[in-house]
Amino acid sequence: MATAAFETPKLKPYPVIPLIAEGSMAHSKPYVASSAIQQNIGFPGELAEGWEQRAIAKMGELLGKYRSLRVYMDACVHCGACSDKCHYFLGTGDPKNMPVARQDLMRAVYRRYFTFAGKHFPKLVGAVDMTKDVLDDWYAYYHQCSECRRCSVFCPYGIDTAEITMAAREIMDAVGLGQKYSNEIIGKVHRIGNNLGLPGPALEDTLLGLEEDVKEDTGVDVRYPLDVQGAEVLLVTPSADFFAEPHVESLIGYGKVFHAAGISWTLSSKASEAGNFGMFIGNYEQLRKIALRIREAALELGVKRIVVGECGHAWRVAYSFWNTLVGIGAGGTDPFAIQLQSQLDGRYKQPMHICELTYDLIQRGALKFDKEKNDDRIITFHDSCNVARASRMGDMPGGQFVIPREIIKAVANRFHDMAPETIHESTFCCGGGGGLLTDDLIELRVKGALPRMEALKNVVDQHGVNFMATICAICKAQFSKVLPYYGFDMGMVGGVHQLVSKSIRLGEPH
């Protein structure tokens, strides 16, 4: 399924809600996972006789397990408040990319099998049978949602399309219709320890290379340690940080922060990856299994703190779910959680975001910067969706907006925010999140980036912005690829710790 040629949307000076263009993205579907990929992680290989009943049974199971799904199936009034909030709708005009319509793909089936009105008056309430055509629509449009939750901010009932997308993908996996990209990666993380399939020796080699580069650059011996028993901090970061530009610049930055603050730290070859694609496919067991690696690595290495690198959905999983899934956090009274709590240092937040760590050090005056080293950059900040709308940093609501910006202002002189309706909890997704960062969906990714590109264009034109900092590996990878389509330089995107790295004073090692 080669991607056909498509037109990159034009950037407009102000946002325009498109007229609906029915079926304009119906052709957009990711590659289907092979039987081997599916079975590797415990799903049926392919659609088989009787899948319709199994899909309905799975939906019934999920309705009993997730209050979110049950309430969200009932509560929507079709008010349309979300209809102009999704970046994929704004970029494509396909009405099934309006959150309400995307949800209705499942709601129509829910009504048919689980509600009085749908059982007896299907036409009246728009209830439909589970058929292959319906499933095909699900496969297309539940893979045009990046689970960014922008709609849930604006819904009067907080209906969260991400929850429905996750349920739909779980149902599809349960009947053997999986998405290649996500499920292949989940297989890799179990087999090798990270999403990119980098084995231990390759990691070691990369880290040694980084030490040499930094030595050459700064004259200081900054360490990038792997599998160090008894280190204070276990750092878990997206595997893109190990080799891809601009990601690696941030990894260099984390190392410099630890060095300057005199904190011993380590990476783990067993749990080198922070990303958790179990979330993208909505599968609790996979989410938990992937998170368990971190717990095991932390126990084996005997670390006191767990810190997460610049990765959006990984931070959501770490912040919101790790305590639930594997007991990394406080307050657990079961043996499972107590074991970790007795090892981890309760004076620190567990887990902690690298930005929280750096910010705390800056607040305490433990880090010094030569801000002018970043003067070649006029910086803006892109709030990544999962950080902005599904997690937090620091002690107050909204800390996830404040802390990264304060870090940027502490390490650089020139900063301009994008328009208020496009940042903080109203931020637009980069267009590549939620398991869509794959070349077979490039048309969707380019079009979905439109609202962010328009906001960026405005600060480029008005303030001469030439650098967009972000704290998500998917944002970095997506923007690197998509920026050129809109006439921007791909090097415009980079990490917050890339900026930290450039201006931090290393001084003498501790």
Binding site: S68, A75, H78, A101, D104, V125, D160, T324, K349
Partner: protein
């Protein structure tokens, strides 16, 4: 006892039972379904009190809707606020003696009827005028609006154009509540109004009108943002630890 009186008495008992039992069953199903993961939409309150305040703002001010669409907010809020006043005003048909606050609200409730109709008309107009909203509107969305609008218009007509025998109606309602049935006036407009209200009560627990209780059970709105401080595990998920 006329057949009409008996029919309407039974209709209202059935409608009340459907409304109360239907909504109670739905709420029970929401309560019994676990919320296995912390999913508050941020920036979310970090305390239970903050959550109560957030929900109160949603219920009273429609805060999220205000952020998303000013036109929908204006019409939606106007309709709901007016409906509340109208319902409060109607309490006097169910009380003897009537509470003083219900007497105070009579004036506002009477004129709120117009605001309610205007709000509904605005909401309905969007379903035709905005192409996105037209696309997502189902027949039942239109019927809900038609039903509410017809209730509002028939009520306003009785209040301002063709008066009905309000004393007899009140006797009928009080009789229903005391299981001592009194004759219902045979005024066609009144019968229409009552039939539509009963219909609304019937569809409430099997329709999108469940958004009213639903809001209180929405995890993205009612959860406290404290996952690092408090371990949050559902029973079925805890079983995986074994």
């Amino acid at each position: 006892m006329s057949a009409l009186t008996i029919a309407y008495a039974l209709l209202f008992y059935a409608a009340t039972a459907m409304l109360v039992i239907g909504v109670a069953l739905k709420i029970r199903s929401y309560l019994r379904t676990p919320a296995p993961l912390k999913i508050p939409t941020t920036p979310a309150p970090t305390t239970q009190g903050g959550v109560a305040l957030r929900l109160a703002r949603e219920v009273v001010l429609f805060e999220s809707l205000f952020k998303s669409s000013k036109w929908t907010w204006i019409f939606g809020w106007m309709f709901h606020a007016a409906l509340l006043l109208v319902l409060l005003r109607h309490l006097r048909y169910f009380q003897e003696p009537v509470w003083t606050p219900v007497l105070w609200v009579q004036f506002f409730g009477t004129y709120a009827g117009f605001a309610m109709v205007a709000g509904l008309a605005g909401l309905w107009a969007r379903r035709f005028l905005v192409d996105r909203v037209r696309y997502i509107s189902t027949p039942s969305d239109h019927l809900h609006l038609a039903l509410l609008l017809a209730i509002g218009l028939s009520g306003l007509t009785m209040r301002f154009v063709a008066h009905t025998d309000i004393v007899a109606l009140k006797a009928f309602m009080l009789g229903l509540m005391r299981f001592d049935w009194q004759p219902l006036p045979g005024d066609p407009l009144l019968l229409l109004h009552l039939t539509l209200v009963a219909l609304l009560m019937f569809v409430f627990p099997i329709s999108k009108l469940l958004h009213a209780p639903g809001l209180f059970f929405s995890p993205s709105r009612n959860q406290v943002d404290n996952p690092r401080e408090v371990r949050h595990v559902a029973a079925w998920a805890a079983a995986l630890d074994k």
